[in-house]
Symmetry: D2
Subunit: 341 residues, 4 copies
């Protein structure tokens, strides 16, 4: 039985607490929040949990083997580092930190102490993303030509991060899970249309060594909510519409075949248009799957799917994207940025 | 009564011929195509039209006041220039040419001879685009924050042009019509996934001096057909779905308001979510509207909406996009490209 | 402050309890359920409420001014009658009873004692139905030609009622609210496809004296969930799709106009196809609106929108529909059924 | 090579003529229409066809082996009978006649003379209906529980028939093709909302001996166009949306399973929700398939899929529906109607 404490009981913390409470192999030991009102809400819901205003006090709790950090991004590094140094396993909300150098230090600290460091990239634990992962791993799609995502809606404008750090981070973590290859460069553009606010709209192109192309369209100022991703493969293609209540994933047996004759391109190309298939997707809540995985990794000492390293890669790509955005799309090599940092 | 000849009776030429035949103020005088089979089809349909295999012969026809050119892009310049020099008014299929220098020469030649030079940017004459233009012109949307278009489908791979020259050209011509401002720089990325073929997927970001952002997503290798454009304004926002049979345009009374107090951004921002409205759109065929406009411009000596100049601007942007694409998104200033050419 | 007790804490009771707890002008005084497990759940959530296993005990609670009954339909009559006789105001889940004779007795008992008797026809309190009601009342639609509803999905098969009593009851209560006229006859057909189960599929036609036609399509064995209602009026028409997350109601300025000349019908008829408009709908939870309305009616002594009388009319129509269904659509006059009962 | 003449060159005749012209095994011999303008149009398009104003003259044409009748319904009987008596094979537009007695005479006349009599139930020849037919025939759906169709739109109001004869006829012909069983009784209701016009809205329930239920919802006065049919089977279920451009048919591996234990119904029932699958549907035009089938039946002497007998069954059902509609849903036995006629 793993004892888990929650640090931060604002917007996301209550979801983490509930998931821990519903996980058989875990106990919700303690909750920390500097707001007395938040603590009062937590206490009403979880009378057995210890309540503390200071996250440092929570780290001293001997019944707490692991912590989940759901505080503002800027505080992730300090709290996670302190937790690791106290010997606690750590799950931290996405993004892992707001600087790759800090993420790298967390990864190294966790490795040195052989502690589990995991990032809350929740989408990776949804039935839809896992199903896509299975299809790709089974070779159903063939070579992956591209991943093209539209993730737009009206609001919520964040104070401390722009739309890339808020929304593109989802696709970056999904890509890190789905594709064996990692992006080497990024071109990004973006703009802020609301006075005094950061970028509310951005477009990112990720370049992969094997020619896969990924493109992300994120926007806080769209008239309608869209969560649609097209994934093109040499054999089949996927449309993933996360707003569909039941058929979230549609697999299309469609594509282009190139003949072997020496003729003109348009003569050699033929179009294939076959059946469409929407696999049934398990409905288990992603957060529960994720908390179970966290506990399982702690108990077995295995590496989480959304490890600190994956969190680091995501932050490196976000940094590169921001650098490119400031230069209106000038492509930024992630490896060079890494050397420079 | 304006006599109009058609040069090129392949894929698009028959549509032009039919539209001319249905226009009261025009006469279909002649049709040129080097293929005898195409000419035979044309003759069966339009027994009164003169049929010639050589476009040069058509240009000598005294009954022909104007020509419509629907030949491969690479031949546009030569034919259009010869037509203008023979004193014919010219409508040329999009894009006007495949090089901006050539487009510039056509524009100058037409100006010098006071002839009408028009580009067949058909979308500009659709009810949907005209309605969006009316709404923007009337100030209904407020300041235009962005135009974000997705124009993807499976096929048709073209031999002589890539997906940018085939599909993005539509949005560039629409933007040229809708927005008073013109883009100053472009960042583009793209990739070709089919051996021996050009880019089948591309993303373009256009930068405007006033901060408007335009983004185009074009793809010949998508599992489904999408023709959706979001237009964000400070007052209202539009979703234009060109595949909708009846409600192609939806106007959303939604947005973000910023308060005047000195507080934090997220406190000052409020979200507005009001009615949605889908204006009735006239169903007149775009091509008929366009042909009537062409004849009207010839008769009155007025400048067409999709003038040679607009065709030139579109080609300049396409060239800049290609240059950026070759550099993986490095932004290209259109003015500098112009100087260099 | 009105003290409210909940009888039945199974599927729906917890929703009622939560709504009472969130209503300022009401106090949740007591909860009755014969299941100790249900009571334990209730006690954990509402420590201040009195918990009793017997609903009769709850009726003796002096702090309880009103009760909400969320027990199986077959017990509604007995409990509601006892509650009224104890001087309690009553809100009862839909349908009010499973026999019109019993509903009539409840209505009379409540009238005699000047107590509020209200039926939980929740849909009537949704933003969508209220907005439709406003549009009809304001004459926006003109004369109501028809109401045609499709309410189908997979499951849940009920044990004690068939699909008419489970799903058609929603539309009957909505119609009772929307239309001033009441139906005079019903034709219904239906079938049960699962061995040992009641009808899982049915179609009802309601006849109104003024010519309005209502048709309901209900089905527990459909491959997809549909909640779509078309409402035709002489001026405008509505499509109400309750599964749409934001634009639930679309008002179409469409219809048919009949000319005054004496010609043939098809010459006199012209089609009108104007704008579509989706009014913003308030998002307040229906159940909260309903509980507030219940308390307000108790305090002021006014008649609820979904009064016992409306509940009686709905049950009379359900009975007529069942009688017609057993005769494969033979129309049943509601007034004659009333006399016979 | 079968010589085919067209009688009636108004709305539908030109489609028939074009299909005959495109069919290799047929020759378009002659076209009859009482309107000189229609004949002029026909002559321009088909210079080789004989043009006559009188259909009687066409029947005397020795080069004409078969005729296609696309005249108003009320004239079908007289023309078809005369054609058969002249030894011509006959394809007649739907419905075959407006009276079952007349249809029966045509069927008998054709049988006596061993001529092909076929009805233009075009939908039966579409890729979608044929695919559904294959799935049912292969047992993919299991037992057919129901067929529930919605076929509504705005207009076109017909002068000589009501909405049942105009729209429900499609579903009746599809049902006649799909299901081995034939309906024995009908309950129908309907209403006319436009002064001086016939019923523009109707609902039909068909009763089948084996318990299959069919329901048709047809409406000329709907705000939107809907062409959606749900087909429920014991194994799988289908949603057929004929307005979908590509995935017209979706097959759902969903349903209800009943356990064998003796418990309560709701305990024994379990819901199955598996994959969805949209088979690729051939895009060949229905009318071409139909004309080829007509010629093939003539040449081989085989019975058409949409034979005169199927046309007769459809008209019998239409008559029963009208009789039921006049009695507000009172079910009408088709066999009794047959005896009475």
């Amino acid at each position: 039985m793993t004892g888990i404490g929650i640090i931060g009981y604002g917007y996301w913390g209550p979801n983490l607490a509930r998931s821990v409470a519903e996980t058989e192999s875990a106990t919700l030991t303690a909750i920390a929040d500097f707001s007395p009102a938040a603590l009062a809400r937590a206490g009403k819901r979880y009378p057995a949990a210890r309540l503390v205003e200071s996250w440092r006090a929570l780290l001293d709790d001997p019944a707490t083997d692991a912590v989940m950090i759901a505080t503002p991004v800027s505080s992730h590094f300090e709290i996670a580092l302190a937790a690791l140094r106290k010997g606690k396993h750590v799950l931290v909300e996405k993004p892992i930190t707001d600087r790759s150098a800090e993420a790298r230090m967390l990864v190294e600290e966790a490795a040195r102490r052989r502690l589990t460091l995991m990032v809350d990239h929740t989408f990776v634990y949804t039935g839809a993303v896992r199903k896509i992962g299975e299809l790709i791993a089974a070779g159903e799609l063939g070579d992956i030509f591209y991943y093209d995502s539209t993730r737009v809606n009206l609001g919520l404008f964040q104070r401390d991060v722009n739309v890339i750090w808020d929304l593109a981070v989802h696709d970056l973590s999904i890509l890190d899970f789905l594709l064996a290859e990692k992006p080497t460069a990024v071109s990004a553009s973006g703009s802020g249309h609301i006075r005094g606010s950061q970028e509310n709209m951005a477009h990112l192109t990720l370049f992969y060594p094997n020619g896969t192309a990924a493109h992300l369209n994120v926007n806080w100022l769209a008239p309608v909510k869209v969560r649609q991703t097209l994934i093109g493969g040499s054999k089949k293609m996927i449309v993933w519409d996360d707003l569909e209540p039941s058929e979230k994933i549609k697999v299309y047996d469609r594509g282009v075949s190139v003949g072997d004759d020496a003729g003109m391109v348009e003569r050699r190309i033929s179009y294939r248009s076959g059946d469409m298939w929407a696999p049934q997707i398990p409905v288990k809540e992603a957060l529960l799957t994720e908390v179970e995985h966290f506990v399982d990794c702690i108990e077995r000492g295995t590496t989480p799917i959304t490890s600190g390293e994956s969190g680091l890669r995501v932050v490196e790509t976000l940094e590169a994207a921001m650098l490119s955005l400031r230069q209106r799309g000038n492509p930024v090599e992630i490896a060079e940025l890494r050397k420079a940092s």
